[in-house]
Amino acid sequence: MTKTTALDIDSTLLPARLNHLQALEAESIVILREAVAEFARPVMLYSIGKDSSVMLRLAQKAFYPGKIPFPLLHVDTSYKFPEMITFRDAYAKEIGAELIVHRNEEAIAAGANPYTLGTQNCCGLLKTRSLLDALAEGGFDAAFGGARRDEEKSRAKERVYSFRDSAGQWDPKNQRPELWSLYNSRLRKGESIRVFPLSNWTELDIWLYLYAEKIPIVPLYFAKERPLIVRGGQMTLYHDGLKLLPGEEVRSEKVRMRSLGCLPCTGAMKSEADTLPKIIEELLTFRRSERENRAIDHDEEGSMESKKREGYF
């Protein structure tokens, strides 16, 4: 982490004052440890994106010098960018974490895809259903997620400990009060809690932390000449085997991804930012939110809330 500014001349006597990233880090570590102390079987939802990368580093810090005391779970829709899968496997191995990959094989075999089903239904099957199945199969009573409140207006409403009933559903009108940092982890059989250690982090905080901590991330976040097609008004990265529709052609642009979801539903953006400082500089000039390039969030007003109620992360 970056140097702290000493509060006192004799810094060996008084602890250094924390900068705001260190304060966020300290809060997240409390949350991670508290959940591990109180839940029988926690798991960490690992989506391979930038937020997951930060959350994973925080877990390494929280349990240092020990290892991360829970498995990572990746819900693979089969539509993830190939670079994400490569990165996932290599990184999990490097840090010695236990990785569980779960896919809704039945729906994948039946050909579930966003083009014919629509994003809502496709996400419902390949992400939400798949996630709920994986949690039930693993007997997990708590799942860490990397969601941040600044991402979206219904997330802004969510507790750090987000209670789910036995069907995995969220009731936003009836959340448990959550005072100070005293979290209520009491559950009845079948119920579970989603724990969000990054609740108070902003997109900028995430990037600054990735930079300050030198945390590796999927190369797709960095701008590079990449083959792509334009589909539904969105720049979709091209890869071998992608069937072109009439009128579509593959061209090459210097682009990067601002957030990583599934390949067909996450658009690329034109960018020259090929280093973290450049990404951060670029971020400061943005006038539009990071989820704008995700089809799922704006199918209709309040669509994220509906998904969350059903059990989506």
Partner: protein, 543 residues
Amino acid sequence: MGAIATDFQDFLEAHLGQELLRFTTAGSVDDGKSTLIGRLLHDTKSVYEDQLAAVKKSRVNRAANGHVDLSLLTDGLKAEREQGITIDVAYRYFSTSRRKFIIADTPGHEQYTRNMATGASTADVAVVLIDARAYLREGKLLPQSRRHTYIASLLGIPHVVAAVNKMDLVGYSEETFRAIRAEFVEFSTQLGLKSVTVIPVSALEGDNVVSQSKAMPWYDGPTLLEFLETVPLAEAGHDGPLRFPVQLVQRPDANFRGFAGQVARGVLRAGDRVMALPSRRETTVKRIVTWDGDLPAAAYPQSVTVELEDEIDLSRGEMLVPSSSVGELALPSIARRFRAMVVWMHEQPLVVGRTYLVKHTTRTARATVKAIRYRVDVGSLEHQQADRLVMNEIAEVELETNLPLFFDAYAESRTTGSLILIDGLTNATVGAAMIVGASESEGADGEQAALVLVAGRAELAERVRDGMEARGKRAVIVDDPLIPIESLVAAIRALSLAGVTAISARSLSVNELEQVRGFAEGRIVLAESLEDDEVLRLSGVEA
């Protein structure tokens, strides 16, 4: 390239060095809290274009004069937009060149007071909204404005700013503002609030939110944003004696045993003598371990792992405090009976005699409501008698826990003076409590023994157990041959933590007895040469 890198480094340092201020809104329903937050975000250019476009496109718009309904920026739930009220806290983030802010926009509706308390519990500043037109209509502050100001004072929020809103609807009248200010200042003086500021605003028109109002030239104080950017922040909790509640024991291999937790108060230093509670064993801090390297010292809110010089008995829910050589004043209260201000948050009332679970620092215990000392009328602040508390009521309550808690008064320490109450059946969080202090009546009906040792007198063991059970105390005879003698100490300890008395007719070695003394403080009854009756009396069975 070099230039860019230096610029970036400068930016990074400036940005990281920023202070973080957490503030919450409070006030009655429809006072304009969400609109004010929307205005603040909008006028500081903290709203992304697509988010603003979505608000403009929304089917709902309750804002007058053709304005965009900025409350929709925080009222993010469908039900909130449909009903036109805030139901639960929304957290929003923005920064200016001076500070970073975390906002909790809370609901004003009385039914959702618990969500207001949720947002306010961690705030440095409370922005209490007062609807100027509603004030003119009622001729006084609304009860909910008073309730929220009172809760803000109970929660120990260091600064309160009253934003007198909807000034556009009262012709930007200085007279109205002065009347409201006088009443608010008087009420907050009664509450003992130390830092109170009152600002006239219009959230709808943007007056005195970010930019100075042209419509109110008579006002020469700060705008709301100026206030938030400059209000002095309390120095992080270096002051006060050390409190380090253990969250987790880390044992990655046979060579390392560390105690992970967040420093809740004071300063933890490598090399310092510390005492473990409840065992009162003393040892020295060997290392303060973190992923980023060992630290010489740590303070709130740092999360660290402590390695100690000696192998002492310490686990989750226990606490490191200064060595006794520092003096009794540096110790927290160690008590099972204490008084606390309770904000009740559930439809099922709090009833005297009922037992709840409490979570205090990292310790979970069972707590029985011994008495409601008084209930507070939030309008008049008068104390009233009560034997139950319904939702949103506030009272000073006397609680008794099955294990001792290690606490400070909330007024001294928000971390070690706070606790939540949980209903053991439904698991709902039903109350928030701020500790006032240990009860004078502590020990009046005696602490429950951790161990009653009646070596060789099996029949007496049964009498003690039956007698205790008849008095509603939980007790277990631990002489089952399946419990090997080596595990006896661990069994007694586990029972003691669960608030159950262990009774044994076996003979314990001196060493084992010493170990029990380590955690049971004075709570051991040794029968040795005592008469049966005396043993029963000491065990709390006979008067």
